[in-house]
């Protein structure tokens, strides 16, 4: 059964509106509906359908190839999904314009084409195509409030066309409304659920959630109940210059203000860095500067760059802009999905802005406690360098690394509980406590987050950092320069590595293969090169399409429109049909092989039918004359038939009302 008139056009227009491709959708919609108006159908053989199917496949692969070169992999997939209805317009059009109105399924798949023609295996692609339009419209991710109502309307329309015979219309409407209501509530709950799940276990489920870093705000997991989980995903790869060691820490962002378990980057706006031949210089080149190559995925091509201490320049990739904050954070906008860049750095140099008043602020709630510990350690009386060593020693000796904590959430007292009670926690505890202790001793300090580079991959021949290697440490301003203080006990690396699952090697191998593929893609010329690819692919698709469609010899003849309506003739408007419909509605339908006369005899004999053959027989005689008599029925007898049927229907209605 083909879709009802207008449904496919509406679905295509809906898809076009969601995708912003109405210009393409409108002619396609006209193409898919105009066969009803022109009344032209074609005799298409199985091989003709095979050719059109191949053509659709060529369009699909063309779109896929184009998007593969033009967009990052994840975007390419979603865009390809959103464009799918375009690829299959020719196939659906061939079905709609064919005399049979269906497609032989074996024509669609190459491996089935040699199978025997019988038994017939045909399918109507209208409804699957409608479904494809709905899903593709969703893939466009045009987050407008019209999406759900539009989709529900199209689904309702298609269900109305396919509803079972004899079904109750009010029940249909009520159930559809109930389903739409549940669906609407469900989609809202589902979106919230994902947000909640991402918040709780992003690293575990989505893998990349752990790497999502906001350079302006870092929410600490201080006081988090249960076990903190981060994935094994390789977040970045580091290759030092030959003969040089890899940097131990790569900083992604620095923060200077601690507010309610959050570290914030206050008064540190980003300033654009001037580009010079794909090089962004952050400071003067030091004499002993060395280059380190870092590759990482940037979500939507944007985000902060993990850089070694003393980075003076980044280069080697294309980006819309690179910006730098005085806290030393460097972020990229409109960059590549996979950023492979070279960072020039010297451990001795540091180009972070000088300390301000914010770098010595201590939260009032914790000030007394921090001052007491500071006094115990004698931090105020020591030289800054010695104070740093004391703090490091304090945490190394009296604390242990742990990703697990139980008991109630201590709320704002999380830091106090860590320092005085549990004396166990993860790197954020240690970094925060170290920063605040140093500040309490009058040493300017900042909170830094990034990655600890501690694992060398022989497969990659590079240093790698996984999501679980995400780390936090303190930066202290000592003797006119910012120095790093990693207060977390050194056992943390062993504790993290012990959590490596058995499938880690497999996952690494897959990650390496994906990375190599991405690098190969990056190696292709961009910009004008992509256009060349596009032109080449367009030429290929045109050639392939012409080669396939030029063999459409199956369009042998045009046949007249095969309308499903019965041929016109006298008596088609006879009121007798109302009698038949009425009785059919009551469960006394006439069989297709049954004449009216036999039907009347049969149903009048049925118990409970309350059909009087005597009453209906004269009306049937009049109807038969009106239908089949070449001379037709005189006007007076026509009137008699009309009024007789009307009276009978009224009588029937009254009788049913009485009995109910």
């Amino acid at each position: 059964m083909n879709a009802p008139p207008g449904l496919l056009a509406a679905a295509l227009l809906f898809w076009g509106q969601q995708n912003g491709m109405l210009v393409l959708a409108a002619p396609c919609a006209v193409l898919l509906e105009s066969w009803r108006l022109t009344g032209r159908r074609f005799e298409l053989s199985r091989s003709d359908f095979s050719r059109v199917s191949d053509f659709s496949a060529v369009i699909f692969f063309f779109m896929g190839a184009y998007l593969y070169f033009a967009k990052p992999a994840n975007e390419a997939f979603m865009t390809l999904s959103a464009w799918l209805p375009l690829a299959f317009v020719p196939l659906l059009a061939s079905q709609l314009y064919s005399a049979e109105g269906k497609v032989d399924v074996r024509a669609l798949f190459v491996f089935m084409r040699n199978q025997p023609a019988k038994p017939a295996w045909t399918a109507d692609l209208s409804y699957p195509y409608l479904l494809l339009c709905l899903l593709a419209a969703g893939a466009a991710n045009n987050r407008t409030p019209t999406f759900f109502p539009g989709m529900a309307m199209l689904v309702g329309w298609s269900l109305w066309g396919a509803r079972p015979a004899g079904g109750s219309r009010p029940a249909w409407g009520a159930l559809l409304a109930l389903s739409c209501g549940l669906g609407y509530v469900g989609q809202d709950r589902l979106a919230r659920l994902q947000t909640e799940v991402e918040k709780r276990a992003t690293g575990l489920i989505f893998g990349d959630g752990g790497a999502r870093i906001d350079p302006e705000e870092a929410v600490m997991a201080l006081g988090h109940i249960g076990k903190l989980k981060q994935s094994e995903r390789i977040a970045l790869r580091v290759t030092p210059a030959p003969g040089r060691d890899a940097p131990r820490l790569l900083r992604t962002a620095s923060y200077n203000a601690y507010r309610g378990r959050r570290w914030l980057a206050w008064d540190a706006p980003f300033s654009p860095v001037a580009e010079d031949a794909s090089t962004w210089r952050l400071g003067p080149r030091a004499a002993d500067a060395a280059e380190v190559t870092v590759s990482l995925s940037l979500e939507h091509g944007s985000g902060p760059l993990p850089l070694p201490r003393g980075a003076s320049a980044v280069r080697g990739f294309a980006a819309g802009s690179v910006a730098y904050s005085r806290l030393g954070t460097v972020k990229v906008e409109q960059g590549p999905g996979l950023a492979v860049f070279h960072a020039e750095a010297s451990p001795a140099a540091a180009f972070d802005g000088p300390p301000t008043g914010r770098d010595v602020e201590v939260p009032p709630g914790d000030a007394a406690m921090l001052a007491r510990i500071g006094r115990e350690l004698g931090l105020s009386s020591r030289r800054p360098k010695t104070a740093l060593a004391s703090v490091k020693n304090y945490f190394d000796e009296g604390f242990r690394y742990s990703l697990f904590r139980d008991g109630p959430d201590p709320g704002p007292k999380a830091l106090e509980e860590f320092l005085l009670k549990t004396r166990a926690g993860h790197c954020e505890y240690f970094a925060t406590a170290a920063v605040l202790l140093l500040r309490g001793a009058g040493i300017p300090a900042r909170f830094a987050s990034g990655y600890s580079v501690q694992e060398y991959s022989r497969l990659e021949r590079a240093w790698i950092a996984r999501d679980r290697h995400a780390h936090a440490w303190a930066l202290a301003f000592v003797d006119g320069a910012w120095v790093e203080l990693d207060a977390t006990p050194s056992s943390w690396a062993a504790a993290e590595n012990a959590r490596a699952p058995w499938w880690e090697a497999l996952r690494d191998a897959a990650s390496w293969a994906g990375h190599r593929l991405s690098l190969w893609r990056l190696g292709k010329p961009a910009g004008g090169g992509a256009n060349l690819w596009l032109i080449a692919l367009a030429a290929l698709v045109a050639l392939a399409g012409w080669k396939r469609l030029s063999g459409l010899t199956g369009v042998r003849s045009r046949v007249a429109a095969t309308t499903h309506a019965p041929p016109p003739g006298p008596g088609r408007d006879s009121p007798w049909y109302a009698v038949e419909r009425r009785l059919a509605g009551e469960g006394f339908a006439r069989h297709s092989w049954e004449g009216w006369s036999f039907w009347l005899e049969r149903i009048s004999a049925l118990p409970g039918s309350e059909v009087s053959e005597k009453a209906l027989r004269p009306l049937l005689d009049l109807h038969c004359r009106r239908r089949f008599d070449p001379a037709g029925l005189p006007a007076s007898e026509r009137d008699a038939l009309d009024s007789g049927v009307g009276n009978w229907l009224q009588e029937r209605e009254k009788r049913q009302a009485r009995s109910s």
Partner: protein
């Protein structure tokens, strides 16, 4: 073997799932399920796609439909009128009468025959892996490589061999307390007893996505006779043989009808042949003597000794035997059908002893023999050699044992026709009286035979 078991389990679960989907959902419902699955993939991240809204809408539609379809059609009864026999591969039609026991009309019902589970056992599935002799024509013409790799082609072949397709048929509108008849057309896939345990009456929910099903137990069965091919009438140049006891005794029961006279009792005469009145008169035992009969008696020997994986060949051999059993002129001669199953069997038809249908019934129930040697058939046929005029052998191979069997029969002076059903016709030596029938091309092979 573990992989093979997992594969089998996977196919089995997949078949069960597909059966459930077909039974519980309309085509529109199945499409909605496809939409649900696709939306689940596309919409897995609610921030990157709006397909999650399609997911929840389809999920709600399906759940509502399933909930509504819990209300099943009640107070309906069904009755079948089955013919006595059906034939494998031939359409079978019969009528199911459905009665509405309620005082309100019923519309939109469908009827499905609830047939037996066609899924093969693990042993059958495993044996099909390397069929000993499978003709290329009996395999898929061009299986999809992935299907072949996964073993799905094998599974599909086994299902096609066993399963009988039962289409879902619309039931005409049922008037209040009325009844309607639905003509069911099945095509039994294989010989044997086709069990029809129940019928299922289904009604789609108002949305038209899920079906409410009620299973009416209606246990019946029908005997499906083997598939038959047109065969030429064979003329075996055998002479008529003496048959002690005549036709009636040949069928093991009853007396010959032609009374010849009385004679004195000889040791070994059956007591029932004693003529008691004459004994009373003569004072010594006297027996009745009947005229001896000479007539033609042929044997149809069926080879049931197959290797695992040769079930398809065996079925072809059964069909060939059934074709010859039907074509024999049983008015003029006797035909013994000999084969070995759990025991050695001999069924006789002809000259009023029994009809061809008796032989076909026996063939419909014939099973392959895996635990006995071919020599059992050899002994069974050779033991009857003295009374036979000619033998037709239907074999599923032509190895040394079978060749020795044929030589022995010929050594008895019997005219022998041998039909070898094989996947490799070239392996059977061209011999006088030996016809090679390639599995999958049996009809063509039989058509080439000129009596």
């Amino acid at each position: 073997m573990l992989l093979e078991r997992l594969r089998y389990l996977g196919f089995r679960l997949n078949a069960a799932l597909l059966h459930w989907l077909r039974r519980r959902f309309t085509p529109a419902g199945r499409l909605a399920l496809c939409g649900l699955a696709a939306a689940a993939i596309w919409g897995v991240d609610t921030t990157k796609s709006m397909a999650y809204q399609s997911f929840t809408l389809f999920l709600a539609l399906i759940l509502v439909s399933l909930a509504v379809s819990r209300v099943r059609p009640r107070r309906l009864s069904a009755r079948r009128r089955l013919p006595r026999f059906a034939t494998a591969g031939e359409p079978l039609s019969y009528v199911v009468t459905i009665e509405n026991l309620e005082a309100r009309p019923r519309r939109g019902l469908t009827l499905i025959e609830d047939l037996e589970d066609p899924r093969p056992t693990f042993e059958e599935f495993h044996a099909e892996k390397n069929p000993a002799d499978a003709s290329p024509l009996m395999k898929d013409p061009r299986p999809f490589w992935l299907d072949r790799l996964a073993g799905y082609t094998r599974w599909r072949r086994l299902i096609a061999r066993k399963a009988t397709r039962a289409p879902e048929l619309p039931v005409p509108d049922l008037p209040p307390r009325g009844r309607v008849e639905v003509t069911v057309r099945l095509e039994p896939a294989r010989r044997g007893r086709l069990s029809l345990p129940a019928v299922v009456l289904a009604r789609p929910d108002p949305l038209g996505l899920a079906k409410a099903c009620v299973r009416e137990p209606l246990p019946q069965s029908i005997l499906v006779l083997p598939k038959r091919y047109p065969v030429p009438r064979l003329s075996l140049p055998g002479a008529r043989r003496y048959h002690q006891g005549g036709v009636a005794l040949s069928s093991s029961v009853g007396e010959s009808q032609e009374f010849m006279g009385l004679r004195d009792y000889r040791a070994g005469d059956a007591p029932r042949r004693i003529h008691w009145r004459s004994w009373a008169k003569a004072g010594k035992p006297v027996v009745k003597e009947y005229e001896d009969e000479y007539f033609t008696r042929h044997a149809l020997a069926l080879d049931t000794f197959i290797k695992p994986g040769q079930e398809a060949l065996f079925e072809e051999a059964i069909s060939v035997a059934a074709s010859f059993a039907c074509s024999a002129l049983t008015q003029e001669s006797l035909l013994d059908l000999l084969f070995v199953g759990a025991d050695s069997y001999c069924f006789t038809a002809g000259r009023g002893v029994g009809g061809t249908d008796r032989l076909l019934e026996a063939l419909a129930g014939a099973r392959a023999c895996h635990d006995r040697p071919f020599s059992d058939l050899h002994a069974s046929v050779a033991g009857r050699g003295a009374s036979l005029s000619g033998i037709v052998c239907v074999l599923v191979g032509y190895d040394a044992t079978r060749r020795a069997f044929v030589s022995h029969l010929r050594g008895l002076g019997l005219p022998v026709r041998v039909f070898v059903v094989t996947a490799e016709p070239d392996s059977v030596p061209a011999d006088d009286g030996v016809y090679r029938l390639e599995a999958g091309r049996v009809a063509e092979g039989l058509a080439r035979i000129t009596a």
